[in-house]
């Protein structure tokens, strides 16, 4: 009979990172990083401390929110919604060829690499950076915002669709191909039915995401409610700013609820 080791009399919380030593190392690394980063940041402490009374002052000027210029507010909101909607649709249309080009099992090698490279490049740059370039090319206004969101949507949806296409079951594809179908027919009759349901869900999700992003591209002059908000901050009209912020929160929450509702029904 083997002697069983006597169990420890004191319970210890099992370490999170495998062994106790690794956990200590991780904690030390985090602590070291925090010290390093806070010491290198150029923080003007006086200015930051002055911020707290300022925050109270700003809050006092924000409340109550000023909805008296609701027409201006409405215009910005409607513009954001229109931008988001048109951009989602354009993004969906653009993402189809992009998604096919970025699917390893459909596209020839060089095209696949080019499309994947384009997706990586486009995904990395923030929408606001892309918006600046479109503002430079198309001037201030909602067109730049529309194109930015369409571009970002095409990249996002293209990536997702490409991954879905790569994961389709090969059986139906081979079956359709065996009937003598051409490339277009193979895509329409064997790939589309397999990826359509998820793609529609993703497109709806993207509409919701575009609604969110449409509120921010206005910061660099690309139209929408963001431009109105930015202007109100620049003029220190904080009560109007709060009204805009509350409206944005309501719009985004509504968009999210709508998108969840549609996607639940699709499932």
């Amino acid at each position: 009979m083997h002697p069983t080791p006597s169990p420890a009399t004191v319970w210890r919380r099992p370490p999170l990172f495998g062994s106790l030593w690794r956990q200590r190392l991780a904690v030390a690394a985090v602590a070291g990083y925090l010290v390093w980063s806070t010491s290198t940041l150029e923080v003007n402490l006086e200015r930051v401390l002055a911020g707290f009374p300022r925050a109270l002052d700003m809050f006092a000027r924000m409340v109550p929110p000023d909805f008296s210029r609701w027409q201006l507010l409405m215009n910005g909101m409607v513009e954001s919604v229109q931008m988001a909607f048109a951009a989602s649709l354009a993004g969906v249309l653009l993402s189809i060829p992009l998604g096919i080009a970025a699917a390893r099992n459909l596209a020839p090698g060089p095209l696949y690499l080019a499309a994947r490279g384009f997706i990586v490049l486009g995904r990395t740059l923030h929408e606001v950076i892309i918006a600046i370039f479109f503002v430079k090319l198309f001037g201030f206004g909602p067109v730049a915002g529309l194109l930015t969101l369409a571009f970002a949507s095409a990249i996002f949806l293209g990536k997702m669709i490409a991954e879905d296409i790569e994961n389709v079951r090969p059986g139906p594809v081979e079956a359709v191909r065996a009937t003598g179908a051409g490339f277009g027919q193979v895509v329409v009759y064997s790939i589309v039915p397999q990826v359509l349901a998820r793609a529609v869900g993703l497109a709806i999700y993207r509409l919701d995401a575009n609604l969110r992003h449409s509120t921010v591209v206005g910061i660099v002059g690309a139209g929408g409610i963001g431009q109105t908000l930015s202007a109100s901050f620049a003029r220190y009209e904080y009560d109007f700013s709060l009204a805009i912020l509350l409206s944005i929160i309501a719009l985004v929450a509504l968009g999210e609820w709508f998108s969840d509702w549609v996607r639940r029904r699709l499932r």
Binding site: S37, T38, L41, I129, F133, K136, P142, I219, G226
Partner: protein, 270 residues
């Protein structure tokens, strides 16, 4: 005598959809097309800008080339600052998100009222974009990385807390009841019964949010909230396109690196 099989003959041609289904599909398509037409027409698009857009783009590309690499040493510090803003902001969000998540999970919140408060905070935090939060905090703390850190934290806390609250709601009852049976108080139940169960979600989501935040921090400088964005914006405003290309390349590198790091960490913990 020929006997008829069944009462209905099968259709001779194969159809994907029944007439009712295709009618609904057409209706939906028409609604989408109508909404799209309304959106585009109301936006007052100046189509003339599209005519020479390609020439403008080529012109811009030519001005960017070759990149002025001598600018690179100048932007190393702001690049590091960008990562710091993302990390510190995420760290603050992580600390704040735990109590908020317990407040807004149905099974751990005190009552309906506290749950509603938690949910309202979640929605408010998540609905406002990081850059807009930046605008708010620059007005409070003045331009600089502190405003950026607060902006990142303000946006991320809702994201982290939402994911965590969902994990808490799905937590296994067994360990919680076991801890309760030992006579533990509420705080002890949360700490020893719930928190260990949701720890993987908490860490995974935090690391994931961190890499999103690196990307977000790259533009916080546009509203004066610190980081590399300020240099990008300045270079664009000075029409120093060769510098712009260097900054863009640098942003590309740090965003891709943080994404790879985050993916690696998440693959290891799950």
């Amino acid at each position: 005598m020929v006997q008829r099989l069944g009462t209905k003959t099968a259709p001779l041609t194969w159809r994907r959809r029944s007439p009712a289904q295709s009618a609904i599909l057409w209706l939906w398509s028409a609604a989408v097309a109508f909404a799209a037409a309304w959106s585009v027409s109301a936006l007052d698009i100046e189509w003339a800008f599209f005519a020479d857009a390609h020439e403008q783009a080529v012109d811009l590309a030519q001005r960017m080339w070759p990149p002025r690499w001598s600018y690179l040493p100048l932007i190393v510090r702001p690049l590091i600052e960008t990562i710091h803003i993302a990390t510190l902001g995420t760290a603050i969000a992580l600390v704040l998100s735990v109590p908020l998540a317990f407040l807004s999970a149905r099974n751990t919140t005190a009552n309906g009222f506290t749950w509603a408060i938690g949910r309202a905070l979640l929605v408010a935090s998540r609905s406002v974009n990081t850059v807009i939060w930046g605008l708010v905090f620059v007005a409070i703390f003045g331009p600089g990385p502190v405003a950026g850190i607060c902006a990142v934290a303000a946006r991320s806390v809702g994201f982290l807390a939402k994911m965590l609250a969902e994990a808490i709601e799905e937590a296994d009852r067994g360990p919680i009841e076991a801890i309760e049976a030992t006579g533990a108080g509420t705080a002890q139940v949360y700490l020893f019964g719930v928190l260990p169960q949701v720890m993987p979600v908490l860490i995974g989501t935090t690391v994931y949010r961190w890499d999103i935040n690196v990307r977000e921090s790259s533009v916080l400088g546009f509203v004066g909230a610190g980081g590399i964005g300020l240099y990008l914006y300045a270079s664009i405003n000075q029409f120093a396109w060769q510098q712009v290309l260097v900054v863009l390349a640098a942003i590309l590198v740090i965003v891709l690196a943080s994404e790879a790091l985050s993916a690696w960490v998440r693959a290891r913990i799950s």
